[in-house]
Structure formats: structure tokens, C-alpha cells
């Protein structure tokens, strides 16, 4: 991962995303190999590595003994920072938690607890922020607020690593994506290149007849009466297809065109598609 990136880590359950994050965070020991956070080895130079890393864990964990502010002050202290209230207030403000500062963690909803976890990961202003499924259980409105804040952190120079099940989140936010399967990287490229890697368009047609003029561009995937599902190479194929239909005097009753999204790339690379 490069400095300043918004990096996505995708893969099916059990692919090893959280294990990889745990190794980087020092929560798990690697059986072999090594990991470094901005040059600091996570095992040998763990203090430096951990200071540069903020992790938002996947599970909704909290300490029921403390309020939001106490939680954040303690977390600051663990990282050797005292008198951190100005920054804590700023983070609370951005995460829409300012009114909850003196509320006990137990009394917060799931979405609020999730945002406190984000705040905890940020108390020491780490240059690298790892978000492990950060939007699970957070409602749509708050999700937008969270993304705005994370994008701002990214613009301010923080490197963001994101794992998520919502592929459209990765597609929207990440510049570069690694796809994992069974502990191995099956793809590592910019989001744009990954999307371009699956060439072709899916075309669905309903015609006024049950046969396509022959020859017809593209490949027929399935047919159900007058409904056709075709796979085309590119937009030139589409142009040719429409021309053939016009020549044959066929009318189009319905038409749907789907470009590929990250989900297709994902399914293709993780081998879950035909």
C-alpha cells in the first residue's frame, strides 16, 4: 500500500482480510514473513508501528465502565498523549457525537458505538487508518457523514485502508484495490483498471419476434421466447446489433444495458461466476 492512498481490501468471508489487518496491528502473529507500517516492523519496532496506525475493529467492542469522553481520553493516554481534549472535541464534532460526550458507552446505539470506535482509532492522529467493515450497522445518513469525514482525512494526507462487503463503497472511495481469496491476492490494481479488466456489456432485449436476425453480433447467453440476453464485446458491437435489427425490420420493445461493476470483477476473480 502506498502513502496517501485510499486502499480497498476485498474478498469473500474467510479470505484473510481481518487476519491481514490483525497482523499489521499486532493483534495476531504472522507464521512467516513480516509486516511494516511506514518502515516500522510491527513486531520488532511495535511501539513506532502502533503509533502510526489507527484501527477500527470489525466487532462492536466497548468498555461499559466509561463514558464516550473517558473512553477517548483513556485511548489517548494509551498512546502517550495527555491533554488531548481539543482534538477529541473536533473528532466528536465531525462524527456527530458531541452531544453524547458524557454519555456512558452502554447507553449508545449500535451506530453511535461504531462511530466511537472510529474516534478511538483517530485520537493519536495516525498517518495510517484501517477501517475493518466500518459501515456495518450504521444507517444511511450517518454512513454519508462517516464517509465525508474519512475522505477529508484522506485529503489531509492520511492513508486509508478499507475492508468492506459493500462493493459500491469500495468502488466509490478507493483508488486502488486488492482482492483476496483464501489468503492470496488474486488482483491488485487501480479501481479503474479492475473495472476495465472485464470487457464487454450485458445486453437484455425484448423484441417483437422470437428469433434474432442471423448473423448477429455478440454471444447469446440465454433466450426466453422474445427475451434475449446477449454478451457484447464493446459499444461498436451494440451499434452493429441495432443496425442488424433495423435492417431486419425488428422492433425493440424493451432494452437494458449493464456495464460491469466491481461486483462482476469480484465474482469473476474469486471464481464464483460461470
Amino acid at each position: 500500500m502506498e502513502q496517501g492512498e485510499f486502499f480497498g481490501l476485498l474478498g469473500p468471508n474467510g479470505a484473510g482480510k481481518t487476519t491481514l489487518i490483525n497482523v499489521i496491528a499486532g493483534l495476531a502473529r504472522a507464521d512467516s514473513g513480516s509486516a511494516r507500517v511506514m518502515g516500522a516492523d510491527v513486531a520488532k519496532d511495535y511501539r513506532r508501528a502502533r503509533r502510526m496506525l489507527g484501527v477500527v475493529p470489525q466487532e462492536l467492542v466497548f468498555d461499559p465502565f466509561f463514558t464516550v469522553r473517558e473512553t477517548l481520553r483513556l485511548q489517548s493516554g494509551y498512546f502517550g498523549i495527555r491533554g488531548n481534549d481539543a482534538w477529541i472535541d473536533e473528532v466528536l464534532e465531525h462524527l456527530d457525537l458531541a452531544s453524547k460526550a458524557d454519555v456512558n458507552m452502554r447507553a449508545l446505539s449500535g451506530g453511535m458505538k461504531r462511530r466511537v470506535l472510529v474516534a478511538q482509532a483517530l485520537v493519536h492522529k495516525p498517518p495510517l487508518i484501517v477501517l475493518d467493515e466500518p459501515t456495518a450497522g450504521v444507517d444511511v445518513e450517518l454512513r454519508q457523514g462517516l464517509w465525508q469525514f474519512v475522505r477529508r482525512l484522506n485529503r489531509d494526507g492520511h492513508t486509508i485502508v478499507l475492508t468492506t462487503h459493500y462493493l459500491e463503497e469500495a468502488e466509490t472511495h478507493c483508488n486502488r484495490i486488492a482482492m483476496l481469496k483464501a489468503g492470496r491476492i488474486v488482483a491488485l490494481d487501480s479501481t479503474r483498471n479492475l473495472l476495465d479488466s472485464l470487457s464487454g456489456l450485458e445486453l437484455r432485449l425484448r423484441l417483437d419476434r422470437e428469433a434474432l436476425p442471423q448473423p448477429f453480433p455478440g454471444r447469446l447467453v440465454s433466450q426466453d421466447g422474445a427475451r434475449f440476453h446477449l454478451r457484447l464485446q464493446d459499444y461498436r458491437d451494440l451499434e452493429a446489433a441495432l443496425a442488424r435489427l433495423r435492417e431486419a425490420g425488428a422492433s425493440i420493445l424493451e432494452m437494458e444495458l449493464e456495464p460491469h461493476d466491481l461486483e462482476d470483477v469480484f465474482l469473476h476473480l474469486t471464481g464464483r461466476t460461470s
Binding site: N22, A25, G26, L27, A28, R29, Y46, R47, R48, R50, R51, L53, V55, P57, E59, V61, F62, D63, P64, F65, F66, E70, L74, Q75, S76, G77, Y78, F79, G80, I81, R82, Q120
Partner: protein
């Protein structure tokens, strides 16, 4: 050092926020023991010629409370943090395993001593205790609390569930404290049990602590101090080795 100090402060705050349960309740329990045993046995039992039974009982009860609460503090804090998952906040922080160990043990020691002082204060009206050698008493209280705090860390690391920790408490800590001479002097025991008691490190803590009050004991106080110190060092090394390896904390 700020990381260590914060963790220590957090551990102190944790028990202090629920002081009714963690301080007041064990003080009340100890006073109930005192009332029941003193009235039931006070007139009939005399352990040392010069010391009434009730007087004899009080330092034992104080020390028992110190030990049990020191153990309860670190063990329950660790097991709860593991179960709820919030241990991750400490594990993610740049805190060394030695700092981690020291913070938990020190907080447990403080809780043990606070409860012990509470018991001593509560029994103030019942008995008229002298303090023959206050530094001996203090040394045994601090080292004993430290040892049990360290045992609590050990139990906390090893236990994955509340019932495993409870088993450790009920089948190891409780028998060792009850059979250590809190309620009786081991010199009144038959030969076999007398020898067995000498293998129990808890006996030396109670006996040494009592020496601080009365100037009499079943074992030489210097020997007791050596046994308690050696036990503390041994348990600490075991804990530090486990923490360094990440056993059951870092997978």
C-alpha cells in the same frame, strides 16, 4: 510511561466506579465472618496464650480480604475485557507486555490494600490490636496483594470463559486461603496437615502479616518473607513469559 500510567489509572477507575461491589461488599463479608466466629468461638478457643481469639482472627481476615480482592481485580478485569473484546484497545496501543503486567498487578495491589484497610477500620471497635512490627505487616500485605494480583493476571490470561476463572478462584484460591490459618493456628493441626500447610504459600502470607501485629508466628517471619517474595517472582516470570508470547491474547 504515559501508556502504563493510563492503563493503571483505567484499572483503578474501573473498580472505584463500582466501589460498593468491589470494596464495601468484601468489607461487610469480612465483618460478618468476624462477628460469627468471634461469638461462636471467642470464649472457647485460645490460639496463643496471650492473645484472645477475636484479636487473633482480625489480621487473618484482613489479609484474606487483601488476597481475595487483589486476585479478583486483575482476573475479572482481564476476563471481562477478553470476553467483551475491549482488550483490543490496550493490545493496539504501544504498551509493552511488562507495562501491561505491571499496571494490572499494581491496580490489584491497590484494591487489595484498600479493602484490607476497610476491614481493619471496620473491626476497629471490636478488638484492641497492637502493631508489634508495622513494616513487616505492610511488607506482607503489599507482597501478598502483588502475588495474588499476578495470579489473577495468570488466571485472566488462561481463562477464556467466566466459569474457568471462577473454577480457578473456587478450587485454587479459596481452598488455599481457607487452609492457610486464617481461622486457626496451624500449630494446632495434626502432623500431616501441619506439613501440608507449610507447602501452602498463603500460610506464609497470613502468618507473616499476623507477626506484624502480635510479634508471634508459626514460621520465622524472614522465612515467610522469602517464600512470598520467591512466589511473587516465579508467578511474575510465568505471566511475563505468557504475555511476551501473546498466549491467548495475540493469536
Amino acid at each position: 510511561m504515559t501508556g502504563f500510567r493510563t492503563l493503571l489509572y483505567k484499572e483503578l477507575l474501573r473498580f472505584w466506579k463500582v466501589a460498593v461491589q468491589t470494596v464495601a461488599a468484601p468489607v461487610l463479608t469480612a465483618v460478618l465472618y468476624l462477628v460469627v466466629f468471634a461469638y461462636a468461638l471467642g470464649g472457647r478457643v485460645r490460639v496463643y496464650d496471650s492473645i484472645p481469639y477475636t484479636d487473633f482472627l482480625v489480621p487473618g481476615l484482613v489479609m484474606m480480604s487483601v488476597l481475595q480482592n487483589a486476585f479478583a481485580n486483575s482476573s475479572s478485569s482481564l476476563v471481562q475485557s477478553k470476553l467483551t473484546g475491549n482488550i483490543v484497545f490496550v493490545l493496539l496501543a504501544p504498551i509493552s507486555y511488562a507495562e501491561f503486567f505491571a499496571a494490572y498487578v499494581l491496580a490489584s495491589t491497590v484494591r487489595g490494600l484498600v479493602v484490607g484497610m476497610g476491614v481493619l477500620a471496620a473491626t476497629f471497635g471490636f478488638v484492641d490490636l497492637g502493631l508489634h512490627a508495622p513494616f513487616w505487616a505492610l511488607a506482607f500485605a503489599v507482597l501478598g496483594a502483588g502475588l495474588l494480583g499476578a495470579l489473577g493476571v495468570l488466571a485472566g490470561i488462561l481463562s477464556e470463559k467466566i466459569d474457568q476463572m471462577a473454577a480457578f478462584q473456587n478450587f485454587v484460591i479459596m481452598p488455599l486461603t481457607f487452609l492457610s490459618g486464617v481461622f486457626y493456628s496451624i500449630h494446632a493441626l495434626p502432623e500431616f496437615w501441619l506439613r501440608l500447610s507449610h507447602a501452602n504459600p498463603f500460610f506464609y502470607m497470613i502468618d507473616g502479616f499476623r507477626y506484624g501485629f502480635f510479634g508471634v508466628s508459626d514460621a520465622a517471619p524472614a522465612l515467610s518473607l522469602a517464600v512470598v517474595s520467591a512466589s511473587l517472582i516465579a508467578v511474575s516470570f510465568a505471566c511475563l513469559a505468557l504475555l511476551k508470547s501473546g498466549y491467548k491474547l495475540r493469536h
